[in-house]
């Protein structure tokens, strides 16, 4: 237990001490939130879909969690290249604990970033049902855990940083754009609908949005089941991949 705790604490300390990263990773979500939220607001309203800012905010909260969570993958590769990973790999502790501590730490950091975006959105008029906040936080945490685990699993199979832009462009961006973060899921073309349905992020966003605004497309319980099942699967797969890492 102490091993998991110290791995977790390390992630939090690193996060707290690099304020530039904290601020830097807020830039993109806030740009999306304000430019799109206020830019498309009137079109969305005219189409009879209600307030776009309220619709968009959960998507952008999820986006900031997604990006921060996947960033943990970069950190693992970083540690691997620069030696710190070896220090943990020669220690007499199970790989599972190392992976679990790292995942929890990374997920906590991503979760905090999500909360910051949440608060900023609320300050700029995001209307929320206060009683629903705990449920929304639960979904935010599930998103954070799932994508941190995915990021670390991918990183266990890569040994240099040059491949990471590839992941950004071919995994991260499609996950975000094809998720229902930016648009409603009803009446999509068939192919698009299929892609959105196999995207795990869609379920996370739908859960957060359903909790906060009451407008769930998939159903909150379904969202919860899908996310939890995926966390278990990715957790097992990731632990197995991480146990194979050689320095």
């Amino acid at each position: 237990m102490q091993v998991i705790y110290i791995m977790w604490l390390r992630q939090l300390k690193r996060y707290w001490r690099s304020k530039s990263r904290m601020l830097g990773s807020l830039g993109q979500p806030l740009l999306f939130l304000f430019a799109l939220g206020f830019g498309f607001g009137s079109v969305f309203q005219k189409a009879g879909q209600g307030n776009y800012f309220d619709f968009l905010a959960p998507g952008i909260i999820a986006m900031s969690i997604l990006f921060n969570a996947m960033f943990n993958g970069i950190e693992v590769i970083w540690d691997r290249q620069f030696g710190f990973l070896k220090e943990t790999l020669v220690a007499p502790v199970s790989r599972f604990k190392i992976m679990a501590g790292r995942t929890l730490g990374g997920a906590t950091v991503a979760f905090i970033q999500g909360i910051i975006v949440f608060i900023i959105a609320a300050m700029f008029g995001f209307k929320i049902n206060l009683a629903a906040i705990p449920l929304a936080l639960l979904f935010m945490f599930l998103i954070a855990i799932l994508f941190t685990a995915i990021g670390i699993a991918i990183a266990s199979k890569m040994d240099d940083m040059h491949a990471f832009p590839l992941i950004m462009n071919f995994i991260l961006m499609p996950l975000f754009f094809l998720s229902g973060a930016l648009f409603p899921l009803d009446n999509l073309p068939k192919a698009m609908d299929f892609i959105v349905k196999i995207n795990p992020l869609s379920y996370g966003i739908d859960g957060v949005r359903g909790a906060l605004t009451g407008a769930s497309h998939i159903g909150i319980l379904n969202d919860f089941i899908v996310l939890s099942a995926l966390i278990v699967i990715v957790g097992i797969l990731g632990s197995w991949l991480f146990s194979k890492v050689e320095a």
Partner: protein, 265 residues
Amino acid sequence: MKKEIISVKNLSKNFKGFKAVNNISFSINEGEIFAFLGPNGAGKTTTIKMLTTLLKPSFGEITINGFNPLVEKDAARHSFGIVFQDPSLDDELTAYENMEFHAILYGLNKKIRKSRINGLLKFVELWDRKDEQVKHFSGGMKRRLEIARGLIHHPKILFLDEPTLGLDPQTRNHVWKYVLELNKKEGMTVFLTTHYIEEAEKVASTVAIIDHGKIIKTGSPLQLKNQTKSKSLEDAFLKLTGHDLREEKASSRDSMRQNRRMWRR
């Protein structure tokens, strides 16, 4: 009768058909300072990685402090401390936090942790800098901290992979002073690699010379000098391994190292 603490039999490691380590055998007695010398790419680091459970051997047997590192992994891991060739500290953490992180990974309780960390930070003369983030440390200070960290769990064997690389003569002297002190006082076995042959000559009780994945000579520095009729161990080394330059392909790791230097500026 001296006790064998490391024994290696017919050890090999192949990387995609390339034999990085080719059927080597040696044994090290408790309390020895064993220097593993060889040109770049000779197989030193690969051997250390296999001895320290970071890499699986392709063939052969290893015994560390009576344990087989493939089977009794954690027992073997408790037996040694290691200072890697590349720095492996967390730059964002303080010196004390780096030490504490390590101590917790090795399962030490709070009281023991505190007293050992305090003692070791004083031993490597970093006590007054303990609450500073490691990123503000010089290369020599980082090295000293890594040596201290490797000792927290009282290992029987200390692995040092190029411990003095890139350090100024003062720090190098200090590093060897610590190592000799540990070896004398605690009877700690030391396994080291270095390119500074004259340093190995000064501290090592046994030297093994490895080239192209094979051990070509083992013996005390004096024996090697006598056998090759050389004035210094360095001459003996050059006679045994030849004067040719080693051409190595840059690995992605090397390019990362360069990138890091750039970013750190």
